[in-house]
Symmetry: C2
Subunit: 139 residues, 2 copies
């Protein structure tokens, strides 16, 4: 059994999966620092990510392993994997060649809460590609 | 009932809380882009964050509202709140004056997986403050 000190101050990688067997993973552009997407990994997805060097997740909606870009071609080349203090969250520092979000933006975070409001968003990015072209060609 | 199009392409802020009533929130340094910490908000914590302009979360371990820095003084001034495509994850762009991690680092992500290993971490940051000094003075 690992102690808190082992987990927080040690050099053993002891990723903590939640009750559903998942750990949160943030893909961050290694060049710009932009946060591109947030997804989840089970142990197998994490192992595949480490082995292959490409971001691989577990799709909660489809309940299956999902190599990012397997359909769109927009893969994530993983440069570095960071872990937080309690080892229940990962950052993948990635290199990408195109938009990462299925809606067509570079990042999934293309909207921000409007100043001085609590219910209204504004768009803060332009579309990076046309998702209809990408996703229809393979289906 | 909101449609996928409303959620993904609309301007209504419709945050999606999970089965535990929580949404993932990433605090990112608004100046450097460094990801500082990942925590969770219930609806009340999100409302408090918007109202006060300071990062406020729900502590899963203590099961209570938690204004970041209430004990350490290391508050997060929120500059902007971003939401992702399916509105189940937030980024807080924050200004901070000191380390954010309770272990003493600026960011909770102070370790990375060692190159060509799958089980060993290496430290990639220096301590920003001494947590013993910060947390003992209030307890």
């Amino acid at each position: 059994m690992s102690t808190t000190k082992d987990i927080e101050e040690g050099t053993d990688f002891i990723p903590k999966f939640d009750d559903n067997g998942l750990i949160t993973a943030i893909a961050q552009d290694s060049q710009t620092g932009q946060i591109l997407m947030v997804a989840y990994m089970n142990r197998h997805a994490l192992e595949m990510t480490i082995q292959t060097g490409f971001g691989t997740y577990f799709s909660r909606s489809r309940q299956k392993l999902w190599k990012k870009g397997e359909e769109s071609g927009h893969v994530e080349k993983v440069e570095q994997i960071l872990v937080d203090c309690d080892q229940d969250c990962l950052i993948l520092k990635v290199t990408v060649d195109a938009g990462q979000c299925h809606v067509g933006y570079r990042s999934c975070f293309y909207r921000a809460l409007k100043n001085n409001t609590s219910k209204k968003l504004e768009f803060i990015a332009d579309r990076a590609y046309n998702p209809k072209k990408i996703y229809s060609k393979n289906s």
